[in-house]
Amino acid sequence: MRYIFGIFLLIGFLKVAGQQPPENLSYTTAHVSISNAYATSGLKVFKGDIADYNRVHNTTPIIGTTKKGDVSTTFTPLVPFDQETPYTLVCDDQFFHFEIKRSKDQPAMTVSGIYPSIDEVPANILKWYIQFSQPVNPVKIYEHINFLDHVGKPIDRSILHLGAPLLSEDGTLLTVWIEPGRQKRMLGPNRHLGSVFEPHRQYTLLIADTLKDADGVPIARGVRHTFTTTDSDRTKPALANWVVAALQADTRQPLKITSNDHLDYGSLLDAFSISLDGHRVEGALTYDSETTTIHFTPIDKWKKGIYTIQLEYQLEDLAGNNLYHLFDRPIEKQKKEVVFEELTLSVVCK
């Protein structure tokens, strides 16, 4: 009798404490469903483990839509449920707890590339690119990225914080602007704090292990990318310095161009095109910043003729100097500048 009483007590406790068996529920990050065998009117979902009505009345439920089907009722939150986070579904007078576990097969995000990848960059470099292995969480991303000086001290105001960070469409490539107020000569920050980087020093780009991917999973490990600075680059890139290798007809051998200047990859990709008789050639472009070499591989084979390589004047080098203008330029000198530079090159294909 004593044991039977104990069993009833246990059942009563589970009911009160809301320890309902999880098989009543099915859930993913997108939604949670409960069998219609339970009274599903007034269904609400809360963040956290909630087991009493006092907390229910004092806690804001998660926003979402509830839809009753033939077998079960489904709650779809406005944004996906987090992983490794407890939630409580409350309907009628019952509490159901669930937590979405992270799959052990899901690899943690890593940094797969940092560009420019060269060891030495000009002291007035204007931007960096960080490539992640999977979509990164863009929210407050700059809190996890910084530059350190040669003794490992964080450099104050080194990165331009944008409300909406510049991430590629697939959410994996982040553009990091160096604080332009410090890079641009004669502005207050530049005059009083100096440039972010000084020539001939060693620095580290730090990506902290607090950074998470778009699913809220922490990065596998933090990254420290060390580089050295050279003198500031205050010359415009010039097509006159480009060396274009000959093309071979009826092949898809990459067009090879040596730019002899460290170009900004994102800018190059946007500013470069090649055409034959006015028809643009489709293909893929890569840039080796170590050798300053552009490779353009066409989708279709090259044809005999004279191809035209067209550049937009906005093509920039690592310091933000474009084909027409320096990143910042003395106003007096500017009047004497020859504004229009050559923007096309020709290459013969035999």
């Binding site: 809360f46 590629s168 959410g171 602007w177 641009k184 998470k212 946007d270 893929a284 330029r329």
Partner: protein
């Protein structure tokens, strides 16, 4: 005579109805396909303009049928906690991107971006947040011309080009949009006629500013507001590299190289975040929220009387130059907008790190 009066009144009402319908005549109901909200601002008749960088578009949403929210004693003490509960997540998974006030009914809206990539719109009502659908709305939209070079692909066939809207405002039949890209360091400033038309030539400008008369740059604009200066419509803009610059609206011609007039540098450690205009007793003021400095108050008359571009160097560390300003006792204000003629609403992080939504009034002006 009575008939004539009635006829006149009737004509007046008809024309009034026609006029009020002009803005939304070409609106359709459905999903505008908003992929991201990077900036928003209200135009006429409760039309909310949304800057969508991902889809390279500006969407005009008719919110005139939204209920009038209860705004008495508006305060949300812990906005991040409120949003965390509503979204079932933690504050490192979302970001408040922008705030806009409908001048018709003083409804306050917040745009929130979630780490999943979803953008959400909330109405502040009775000191809570209510979601507002942006999936099924009455809308009109226009693509941002040449926002993205369609053929730019890397070695793996991906587009790396990214353009982000940094601010957006409406004035005198134009939606003005500033932005920056990862391809070049330059101002991208567009003026788009509204109602949107397919053949509208969007003005695209290069706006330069000088640093102490020695160097000049075509730099991205961080935030801006239209303001009448010396009886002329002008744009007061702050740059990512700190200067505060004025340039005239009537020079917004496509492709034009405009040189803005630098009227101030507002400190070395600071980036202005939001700019609004308020008025008290006939005197107009600019209020400016900043990343690293207190809320600033600037007299419009001081900008009007500041004749030339800033040419003298700033002497002190974190010093300022140009027009005078007064620091108001509000620090860490991240979002700022005019609620009504006498009140402004702000989102402010307090000394304990808690982000709250609150109001203040023109007794500070």
């Amino acid at each position: 005579m009575r008939h004539l009066s009635l006829l006149f009144l009737s004509l007046l009402m008809t024309s009034s109805v026609l006029w009020s319908n002009n803005f939304t005549d070409d609106f359709v109901t459905g999903d505008p396909g908003i992929e991201s909200v990077h900036a928003m601002a209200f135009g006429p008749e409760s039309i909310l303009f949304v800057g969508d960088s991902e889809a390279a578009q500006v969407v005009a949403i008719d919110l005139s049928d939204q209920k009038k929210a209860v705004n008495d004693g508006m305060i949300i003490k812990d906005l991040e906690q409120e949003l965390s509960n509503l979204l079932g997540t933690t504050s490192d998974q979302f970001q408040i991107i922008d705030m806009a006030v409908d001048p018709i009914n003083q409804n306050v809206y917040l745009a929130v971006n979630h780490s999943s990539g979803k953008s959400l719109l909330f109405l502040v009502n009775n000191n809570t947040l209510e979601p507002v659908s942006i999936d099924v709305v009455s809308y009109s939209k226009t693509e941002l011309q040449n926002a993205i070079a369609v053929d730019a692909k890397d070695g793996r066939g991906r587009s790396l080009r990214k353009w982000a809207i940094s601010d957006l405002r409406y004035a005198d039949g134009k939606v003005m949009v500033s932005g920056l890209s990862n391809a070049e360091f330059a101002s991208t400033f567009r003026a788009i006629s509204f109602p949107f038309t397919e053949d509208d030539m969007q003005s695209s400008l290069e706006i330069y500013h000088a640093a102490h008369g020695q160097y000049e740059t075509n730099a991205p604009i961080k935030t801006f507001t239209p303001v009448t200066i010396n009886n002329k419509q002008q744009i007061l803009a702050s740059y990512t590299c700190t200067p505060l610059v004025v340039f005239p609206v009537d020079e917004l011609e496509d492709g034009k190289h405009i040189k803005g007039r630098t009227v101030a540098e507002l400190g070395n450690w600071n980036t202005p975040l939001d700019i609004i205009e308020m008025e008290k007793e006939g005197q107009r003021y600019i209020l400016m929220a900043n990343s690293n400095r207190a809320l600033m108050k600037i007299k419009v008359s001081d900008i009007e009387s500041f004749g030339d571009s800033l040419t003298e160097k700033v002497q002190e560390r974190a010093g300022t130059a140009g027009i005078d300003f007064i620091n108001l006792p509000f620090v860490n204000v991240q979002q700022l907008d005019k609620l009504n003629e006498s009140t402004f609403v702000m989102i402010q992080r307090d000394a304990n790190g808690i982000l709250g939504l609150k109001t203040s009034n023109n007794r500070w002006l």
